[in-house]
């Protein structure tokens, strides 16, 4: 069991944070969340459907099971809309914990960092615990930390793309630049991607599509849990240096037969 992750005043046992969208049905969602071992899950804020105002049975389940809900501002393209969405999320009885996501365009879903910085600044002033989805740019990450964000969440690749860790070097630089937790958010495709993120020294990984879109989501959820744990352990253990040539693992003395070289 790896050590807990602290984000603001929140303490997470699992370093894997998962989304709750895109599953086939409620049963699959429940089983995948369980298998992931996550204790923080993301949810979206949406207009109530007036034709079926019965409420979302998933949310009741998540609250009952004690998951920490991380409301997101997915779909917002301006700081103003993101701030309004966060205020509504807080009013929904949650803690003031928010994932701020201000998108730049619908094709890449890359964040608009100018709008993100603006929204984050407003929300921090209003007492929110802000987790911003951002690019893998170390300068922006530092600015978000300076504003008072509780963590930074750089993308690994476009949302839902499954392209994996496209720029491990930037993630490493971000690791060396900020002291708040770094959560890789978006782009993970399979377990090794999550492990790489953790091996680079990131503090956690947030994903949705990689699990929900897998052929067997529950099995992939378990794979992701193991990968995040393995990657974290490997980071803490400290990997060996890369060498161009071999270094024998068995004693050189006492070998029978003829000598080479």
């Amino acid at each position: 069991m790896t050590e807990a992750l602290h984000i603001g005043s929140f303490v997470l046992r699992s370093r894997l944070i998962v989304g709750t969208g895109k599953y086939k049905n409620l049963e699959e969602t429940k089983a995948a969340l369980e298998a992931s071992g996550a204790d923080m899950v993301t949810v979206a804020v949406r207009r109530l459907d007036m034709s079926t105002p019965g409420g979302d049975s998933l949310i009741g389940y998540l609250k009952q099971k004690g998951y920490t809900l991380l409301p997101n501002t997915a779909g917002c393209y301006t700081a103003e809309d993101a701030v309004r969405t966060c205020r509504l999320a807080r009013e929904l009885g949650m803690s003031g914990l928010v994932k701020v996501e201000v998108l730049g365009d619908p094709k890449t879903l890359f964040p608009d960092v100018v709008q993100t910085l603006e929204a984050a600044a407003t929300l921090v002033k209003e007492g929110f615990t802000v987790l911003p989805y951002t690019t893998d740019d170390p300068i922006t990450a530092k600015k978000l930390e300076d504003i008072g964000c509780a963590a930074v969440m750089p993308l690994a690749a476009p949302i839902g793309s499954g392209l994996g860790i496209r720029n491990p070097y930037n993630l490493e630089i971000i690791r060396n630049t900020v002291s708040v937790p770094i959560i890789v958010d978006a782009g993970v495709g399979t377990a090794s991607d999550a492990a790489i993120a953790m091996e680079l020294g990131c503090d956690g990984v947030l994903m949705n599509t990689a699990i929900a879109g897998a052929r067997e989501p529950v099995r992939m959820a378990r794979a992701m849990r193991l990968a995040v744990e393995a990657g974290r352990e490997a980071f803490l253990a400290g990997r060996i240096e890369r060498r161009l040539y071999a270094t024998a693992s068995s004693p050189l003395a006492g070998v029978i037969g003829s000598k080479v070289g």
Binding site: T20, Y23, R47, L48, M50, G55, P71, A74, E91
Partner: protein
């Protein structure tokens, strides 16, 4: 009077409170948050806040998402 709820025009009786509107919508005191003309109406004020002609309201809840 005429208001807008979640982007759709609606007719409601004068002197309807936010709580009254939510009851008409079939939500009652369910897990929703309300914004009136871009300002949050806190849950504690739902019963005492009156909706005015021309108001734009958003009624939202949490759904699954990534």
């Amino acid at each position: 009077m005429r208001i807008e709820v979640n982007g759709e025009a609606r007719e409601i009786a004068p002197d309807t409170s936010v709580l009254g509107l939510l009851q008409v919508l079939g939500v009652g005191d369910g897990p929703v948050a309300v914004e009136r003309n871009h300002e949050i109406v806190p849950r504690a004020a739902h019963a005492t806040t009156l909706v005015h002609d021309g108001d734009k309201l958003e009624v939202v809840h949490f759904v699954g998402g990534g």
